[in-house]
Symmetry: D2
Subunit: 337 residues, 4 copies
C-alpha cells in the first residue's frame, strides 16, 4: 500500500523503514533534506515539500504526520488544500485527543478523513513493532489496516491470554481501533500516564535500595535532624544492577521497563551520565487533566507527573516558603547540603 | 540435595513439587496432615511433626520454613532444639528483614545458620520458577545453591541484557545472594513495594479509561457538583480487555502484571467477582517505613499502600470530618450516593 | 451605593443583608420569588425578572451575579441586552477564571465592564465579612470599592503583620484587586485548592488519632493480614473533641478550620450525621489543572481532590482490578469487610 | 511550685522565663554555663550539673527535660540515681512516644513517675503560651497542674467553641492529659504531622500563584517540552504578600501558619534568604509510621514529609533512573536547566 510520511525524526524515519521492509511504498518529506535523502537511499520516494508529496500519492491518499504535537496544526494548514474528498490524514504523533476531535470536525466538510493513531514503541519499535491505538471513522481505519498490521508487532511469540482461542484477532495483532476520533490518542494518553507511574515505581524502589546503607552515615544530634532509632537495620550494600537483572526472571515486577532499567544499570550502575532533570511531554499532563475532569482518582499517575516537575526545579519556591515558615515559628535555620 | 520443608500452603507445596521434579529429596511437614499426604503421594517423605522431620534429615540439615510471617518465631522455637551446629534454617516466607537479623543473632551461638530468602512468583512459580532474593552468610548460602538454582527460573529464553556476555552468571540464574542477614527479605520487601505501585498504576489507568464516557452522564447543576466544561471530550466506550491485550504487544507498559490484567479482563471485563476490598500483607508497609527511616522519598509506593487502606474502609472517619467541616463553613449537606 | 444582586441563595442573600446593614441600596432578583420577598422585607427592592432589576438601577449600573458557575453564561445572555456602556457586571460566584476572560472579552465591545470577584467566608460571612479577591479593569474595580469595603471584614482586631505600619491599606481591608480579568477568581481558585488540602490534613490527623487504639483489635494470622509488630504501642483512647479544642490554643496548627472542627466534634464526636461522601465543587479541580498546565508540583492539593473522588466511590473499579490481579498471581481471595 | 529544668535551648529557656514570670521557682541546668547564667540573672537558681540540680529540689521533685530526642536516654541515665520514689521526670521535648512507654516502664520499679509532654508554640510560646499535650499516670499529671496551667495560654480571648458553657475547663485551659504514658507525645506527633501538611498546602498554593504568569515564558517546540495550549490563561502577576495578608481576613484558610507566611512575605516576597532545603525532625516521620502500622491512610501527611526529603536532595538517584529509562526507550537526552 502507498503511504505519505511527513516528519522523519526518530519515530517517523524508523516507521518508514519498517514499512519499506514490509513492501509498502513510502513517499517522505521532512524540513531537513538530509532526513529525506537518508530514506530515499533505503527505497522511499522523496518530496521537496508537502505539495510534492501529495502529488506523488494516488487517490485515495494516505498521509501520515509524525511531528511534535505543537506543529500538527500548521502541517494540516498546508496539507488540507493539497488533498481531496476520500483522502485521509493520520496523526501518529503525541497529539492531545481533543485536537483530534477538532481536526476531524475541521476536515469533515471537505470529505477528508482524519485518523488519530497513538504510537508506542520508542526507538525499539522498528525492530519490535509499534503498538498502535487508533481512533476515527470505521471505514477509514479499515482502509488503513495493511499499514497498521505491518507497523504493529503482530501476535508474536508471547504467551496467549487465557481464554483466547482460534486465529489471532483484534488487539492480538498489535493495533486496535479504539473508537471515534480522539479515541486512539485518548488510549495512548492514558498509556503514557501509566508509563510515568510505572517508571516512578521502579525509580523509587531502586532509590530505596540505594539507601539501604543509610545506617552507616553519621547523623548530627540537633533539632534539625531526624534521629534514626535502629541504624543496624540499614547496613546493606545492594548491587542494583544485579537486582534489576534478577527481577527480570520469574518475579511479579518483570516488565519491559525493568529490562531497560537492567540495561542502563548494567552499563553504569551509578548512572553518571544523568543529572536527574526529567522532562515530561504532554500526555502525562493530559492524563491527569482527564482524570480530574472525569472525577477519577489517579493519585499515583499525577504524583509521578509532579515528581518530574519537582526534578525540573519547580518546587523550589514552595520549599523556600516552608523554610521561611520554619524560621518564623521556630527560629530554625536551613541546614547546608 | 536433601531439604526439609515446613509449611505446605500454596507456596510451600508448589516449591516442593518443583524440587521433587528436579530430583531433590524433600522431607515435608504441615499442621494439616492432608497437605503432607498429598506430597508424599508425589514422592516426598512425610513427617508427623517437626522433630520427626529433623530426624529424617542428614547433617548438615537444611530446613526451609514457608509459613506466615507472624508464626515464624514459634516455628523456630520448636526447630532450634532439633538442630545442631552446621545446620541451616531458611525462612522463605514474607518475613520482615529485621526479624531475620534477630533470628540470625539468636541462632548464631548454637552455630546454626539462618538464611532469609524472599520468594516471588506466586501460584505461577511452580511452572515459571521462583525469583529468589537471598540473605545470610556466604558459605551457608553457597551450600544451598543446588536448591536455589532449581527453584529459580534459570536464564530462560528472555533476551539478554545489553553488555552481558559469556555463560549466564549471578542474577541471570534467577537467584541472588543480596548480602548479609536480612538482605534477601529487604530486597523482596522493596520488590513488593514496587509491585503495589505498578499494580496501582495499571488500576488507575484502566479506571480512567472506564471513565472515558463520563460526558454522557447527566450532571446536577448545584453548588455540590463540579461542572464539566466540555462533555464532548468524554464520549468514549473503551474496550478495556482489548486495550490490555493490545498493550502486551510492543508498548512501553508491557509487563507480567499487564499479562495478568489481560487474563482477568478477558475472563470478565466487569470483574464482577470482586468488590474492591484490597488486602495488604506486610511488605508494602515495611517498604514505606524503611523509606521514611532512611529519608527516601517514595510517594508512589506509599500512596499505593494508602489506597489499599482506603479500599478497606479506613478513610471513612477522615471523610466524615471533611463533610462536617463543609457543613460548618458552608452549610453544605452531603449528597446521597 | 446602589447594587443589583441576581441569585439569592445562601451566599447572595447574606451579602445583600450585610450591604443593607451598611446602608447600601440593593435591588434583588432570584428565580424563587420567596427569596426575593424575604429580602424585600429587610429593605431591599425586589424585581420580578432581570429586566426589571436593571430598570431599577441608575447608570452606571452595577449588577452582581451570585449563581452556580454553570448558569453564569445564561444569566449574562439575559443581562447583556439590558445594560449599556459604562455598566458593570460582577461575577461573585465560583466561576472558572477562564470564563471571566471570555466574559470580559465578550462584553468589551459593548463597553460593559466585567469584574470577577472570588468570595470566601461561607455562611459566616454575613457576620465576619467576606474575603474578596477581585479581577478586572482598574477603573471599574475602583468604582466598586464602596461595596467591596463593606462586604469585606476590614482590618478587624487581628494582630498586624510585622513590618506593616500606618493606616491599614490594601489587603488589610479584606479585599484585593489581584489583576486583570480572571485574576480574582484565579486567586480564589488557589484559595480553595489550599482549603481542600488544609481540610484533608486535619481529617487525616484526627483519623489517625482515632486509630490510636488499633493494637487492641484482634488480628487474623493469615497471608491477607499485615501483622502489627508492637500492639502495645497502639493502646490509646484519644478524646478528639478535647484535642481539637486544645490545639486552638497556642499550637502551630490553630486555624479557623480547626475552630470549625472543634465545633463539629463538640457537638458529636462520632460525627454520626455524616457518612463521608465528600463533594467537590469545581475550584479544587481547576487548581490542579492550573498546576499541571504551569508545571507546578502540587501533590497535596491534588491528592486532597482525589481523596474526595475516592469518597464518592470513583476508585471502585481500580480497586477491583487490584483484587483481580492479586487473585491472578497469588490466588488471593478478597477478605470480607 | 518548684521545677528543675534540664536543657536551656530556645524552648527550655523561654519556658523557664514564662514560669519565673508566673511566680514559680526554677532550678536550671544546661551543658552550656552561659545559658544557665542568663537565667540566673532573671531569677532562676543555677546548677553546675544534674546532681546539683536534683539536690536543690525538695521532694517530691519535678525535673523537666528539654533536650533533643536523641539525648533523652543519656540524661535519664544520669538523672535516675539522683531521684527517689515519688519524684517525677517530665520529657517536654520531641521524643518518640514509644520511648516514653519504655522510659515509664524503666522508672516504675524505682517509683519514679515519668510524664511525657508534647509542647507546641515555638519561639512565640513565651509570650503566647505553650500548647501542652500530656501523657502519664493521672496522679502525677495532677500534681504538675500548677506548672502546666502557667505554661499554657489559658482560655485567652479566642471565641468559645459552640456548645461550651460555664467556666473554662479541660482543653480550654491550653493543656490536656491525653492518656497514659506516651499519649502526650502521640498527640504531639500527630500535631506535627498535620503541621507539615498544612505548611505544604500553603507552600504549594503560593507556588502556584507564583506560576500564574507561566504563559509569558517562551517554550521550546520539541518532544521534550510539554506544550501549553492556552498561554493566555497564564498572564498574571500576583502579589503574594498581599494575597497572604488578604486571606488572613475572613477567608476559610486563615490560620496562624498563614499569619507567619504573611510576616515572611511582607519582609521579603522573594524569600531570598532561603534556598529551599527543608529539614524534618522526627515527629513527621513517626506520624507516617504510626499511620502505616495502624492501617490509616494519610496520603497528604506522608507526601508532605516526602517533599521535604526531596528538598534535601534524596530523590536525585530516582530521577537519574527516570532519565536513564527515557534514554533507553526513546533516545531522550536530558534538557539542561
Amino acid at each position: 500500500m502507498q503511504l505519505g510520511m511527513i516528519g522523519l525524526g526518530r519515530m517517523g524515519a524508523n516507521m518508514v523503514q519498517r514499512l519499506l521492509a514490509a513492501g509498502h511504498q513510502c513517499v517522505v518529506y521532512d524540513r531537513d533534506p538530509a532526513a529525506v535523502a537518508a530514506l530515499v537511499e533505503r527505497g522511499a520516494s522523496g518530496a521537496a515539500d508537502i505539495a510534492e508529496l501529495c502529488a506523488q500519492l494516488e487517490a485515495p491518499r494516505h498521509v501520515w504526520i509524525m511531528v511534535p504535537a505543537s506543529v500538527v496544526d500548521s502541517v494540516i494548514d498546508v496539507l488540507e488544500p493539497q488533498l481531496a474528498a476520500g483522502d485521509a490524514i493520520i496523526d501518529g504523533g503525541n497529539s492531545n485527543y481533543r485536537d483530534d476531535i477538532a481536526h476531524a470536525a475541521r476536515l469533515a466538510p471537505a470529505g477528508i478523513h482524519f485518523i488519530d493513531c497513538g504510537t508506542s514503541g520508542g526507538v525499539w519499535g522498528r525492530e519490535r513493532g509499534y503498538c498502535l491505538m487508533v481512533g476515527g471513522a470505521t471505514e477509514a481505519v479499515a482502509r488503513l489496516e495493511p499499514i497498521l498490521a505491518d507497523l504493529a508487532p503482530g501476535p508474536g511469540d508471547i504467551p496467549r491470554t487465557a481464554g483466547r482461542e482460534g486465529p489471532p484477532r483484534g488487539a492480538e495483532l498489535g493495533y486496535l481501533h479504539c473508537g471515534p476520533s480522539g479515541a486512539g490518542h485518548f488510549v495512548k494518553m492514558v498509556h503514557n500516564g501509566i508509563e510515568y507511574a510505572l517508571m516512578a515505581a521502579y525509580a523509587e524502589g531502586f532509590n530505596l535500595l540505594r539507601h539501604a546503607g543509610a545506617g552507616r552515615a553519621e547523623r548530627a544530634t540537633d533539632a534539625e535532624t531526624a534521629p534514626l532509632a535502629n541504624p543496624e537495620h540499614y547496613q546493606y550494600d545492594i548491587d542494583l544492577a544485579e537486582v534489576a537483572e534478577l527481577w527480570r526472571r520469574g518475579s511479579v515486577v518483570s516488565s519491559w521497563l525493568l529490562d531497560l532499567t537492567a540495561n542502563a544499570l548494567a552499563e553504569d550502575a551509578e548512572l553518571g551520565n544523568f543529572s536527574g532533570r526529567v522532562s515530561d511531554s504532554g500526555e502525562g499532563r493530559w492524563t491527569s487533566i482527564a482524570a480530574i475532569e472525569t472525577g477519577t482518582p489517579t493519585p499515583l499517575l499525577t504524583t509521578a507527573l509532579y515528581e518530574r516537575f519537582n526534578s525540573q526545579g519547580e518546587a523550589e519556591f514552595a520549599n523556600r516558603i516552608l523554610s521561611a515558615m520554619r524560621y518564623q515559628f521556630g527560629g530554625h535555620h536551613e541546614k547546608s547540603a
